[in-house]
């Protein structure tokens, strides 16, 4: 049984696939997984099989990639995947306190999801926003110079909308 994607995702996947020459299709494994995960919310075995088929590698070789990269999740993350950076710049600017606050407030740990499936947390290495440390990333949305208050506001806003 092959997986069907939304037309938008399918278009992106086809586009990525077409960028790599014959015999080098395996290079498309990571971007294809990323975009497919965005749509599905999780990397399923069906997705692994589908990507493997399209990229002409074995499912195990795709699994190796999924296992290696922390941004590819085999467990479904929350609707809002909140990533708190605790790498050096953010750490110095209070990133660790943000992380502890978030885990305490939501009652979940690293790569865990709240019971309602709304929010998941991840302690990440450098998110590339050192100049505006500490940073918190909600999905693809960056929040700079985050304080505990700002973090609370972010969580409140997520919870209020849903």
């Amino acid at each position: 049984m092959s997986l069907t994607f939304t037309p938008e995702t399918e278009k992106i996947l086809q586009d990525i696939w077409s960028r790599y020459p014959e015999g080098r299709k395996r290079s498309a494994v990571i971007p294809m997984l990323m975009y497919a995960q965005d749509q599905l919310g999780v990397v399923t075995s069906e997705l692994v099989a589908e990507v493997a088929k399209r990229c002409e590698v074995s499912p195990l070789q795709v699994e190796e990639v999924v296992g290696y990269y922390s941004m590819l999740n085999k467990k479904r993350m929350g609707k809002h995947h909140v990533q708190v950076c605790t790498n050096i710049a953010c750490l110095l600017m209070g990133g660790e306190a943000l992380w502890h606050h978030a885990t305490k407030r939501l009652g979940i740990g690293h790569k865990e999801v709240t019971a309602d499936g709304l929010i998941s947390l991840e302690e990440v290495e450098c998110a590339g926003a050192c100049s505006w440390a500490p940073c918190v990333v909600d999905g693809y949305e960056y929040h700079h110079h985050v304080t505990i208050e700002k973090l609370d506001q972010l969580i409140d806003s997520i919870q209020k909308v849903h």
């Binding site: 074995s58 195990l60 070789q61 699994e63 190796e64 296992g67 290696y68």
Partner: protein, 702 residues
Amino acid sequence: MSTPVTAPPTIINFTVDGRQLSAPPGTLLIDACKRSGIEIPAFCYYEGYSLQAACRMCLVEVEKMPKLQTACTLPVMEGMIVRSETEQIAKARKGTLEFLLTNHPLDCPVCDKGGECELQDMVFRYGAGESRFTEMKNHAPERQWSPVVFYDPARCILCYRCVRACNEGMGVGALGVTNRGVLSEIAPNKEDHLDCDECGACIDICPVGALTSNIYRYKTRPWEMQHVATVCTHCSNGCKTTLGVRNDEIIRGNNRDRGGINGEFLCVKGRYGFDFTASEERLTTPMIRIDGKLEAVSWSKALGFVAEKFKSVQADGGKFGVIADTRLTNEELFYLQKFTRAGLKTSNLDHAASGDLITLLDALSGQTDALATTDDLYKTKAALVIGSDLSQQHPLLAFQLRAGVRHNKTRIYTVTPGPVREAKYSATSVTVPLGEEYDALAKLTDRLKAEKELVILFGDSIKGQRVRDLVAWAATLGIPVKYVCLVDDSNSRGALDMGCLPNLLPGFQVDPHPGLSQAGMLAAEDLDVLWIVGANPLRHAPLASRKAFVVAHTMFLDETAARADVLFPSASAYEKSGTLTNVTGQVQRLKAAIKTMGAKADLEIIGLIAKEMGLAPTLGPWTHDIVFKEIHSGVHGYNVPLPVLLTGGAALTSPVNGPVKVNVLVDEIRSAGDTLFTSGSLGRHSKLLTSVPEFPGALYQR
């Protein structure tokens, strides 16, 4: 001004530890050193597989290079000055080992690998037994991945040898590495289990005890076993296997010394398919059918009974039929054919034919060097496989081709009735309905004409006139062609060579008084005696003669035994000595590893019947070495160099080169179609083989 063109050097000179060495360009330093007896330790490097450069054990000092270099990735260079053992190197290696031991448990006393562990040896040599790390070791529980394979992630040092052996060596790719950093571990292809050949290559190649086999684990220590080098008899490829034996029990099989035609290769049958020898269902006493029921009797009674019956039937001018198993040794086959022809005065003698070698030899009459060896399969530039699922039916030959693809860019062409593994790396793969393989060859003619040489391997769909057509077609290619006629069993080839045929004497000499074939014997309603030495012909066809007195040598109460009047418990191939000729005509020595109470080797049983019948003076002694002497001097092609045989090597026989004018009964040539997990009637009694119904399982599945 153009730069002067200089020819690339053909030999590189360099110095290691003050010794002047030389090697061809492109040789890796680690290999060059090994060939000169200088050991450079390595965990990840493994000869024959791709480079990994993951372990950093092979560091050496090279003059004018600022840092230590990994000998496994460094090709030799002209004038290079290398030191392989210095204080700095020892320190580096000790450091590497200390890192490896941060998470590796020190459970050597219970680990299967203890005593033959490469990590243990290195720690012993470089002394990193004490660690400066005070952190807790990472631990993950051991898991079972298949009826054969267990994985203990804590012991794994992530050398990737198993991954490469499975992917490159076996062409299966069932192992990978998942996660990252200290959490990395080897992963099977089906989430929590393996879907693979179960060959155990990953287990044997593991430098530590991370991969262990269900067959051997926790049973013994390497130094407690005797190691007996013999030949696996589950298929016709004739892989050398070294059995670990303790107290007359085979505990493991492997070939870590890389001796023999197979190097380190073995399939699931060669490594683990020996457990039938210890089956509780083994027949351990002769039996005679009394009032319709088989009853255990003494050897002397059974032998006497059979001899009397044979003599009385012979006196009455009755009709004998003899069927030989294709797993008997050359000595047994030779002695049996002598018994049949000189003792019973008949040529009603046959075996289950699985390939048409006779027609091939006839068609190749006059050509020299036209039969390929296992080594040729590795070295050839191109190979054509016709009508065989090679990786299942002939695992060693398939392995040789795969190695050739990796190392020599061998191009493989397949014409098969279904998908085969070779298709993954073949130049052209054609799937045609069964029996139409020959007709599809025309499609390949042009492509094959462009090759420099070719080895053709053909199965049972090419027989009789088709073989002649094939040889004629190959001659039109205009390139040197060698052939392998694929036969099924460990000594199918020997059965042909030793004249266990109704129309051929040993050495393919035409029998002036041809007898009945196997099908002829089974169909003859007036057959008085059917003597079945080891085979199980009644599994596939009924015996027409109601009055026939059936004598069978067998290990198990099989379909043939159910009809037999007398049963002799025979020894398995692991319990007897002799020689076997493999599919490519290479003779190797079988060596008894164990004794099983009650069973006798077929040669001894045949000899004892001869003695009881008073035929011993005619037939001569029945010890395997004396019979072999007779084969060596008397059978065409078997005048092989004895030192090769005696030292456990494979000696190439040279079959007759000349016309073999007999009527080949092509309808009786039929492959048993054994897969990696079946082995005729015998495989049914291996608990291991019946417990691994994993993927291939049937021929032509992928």
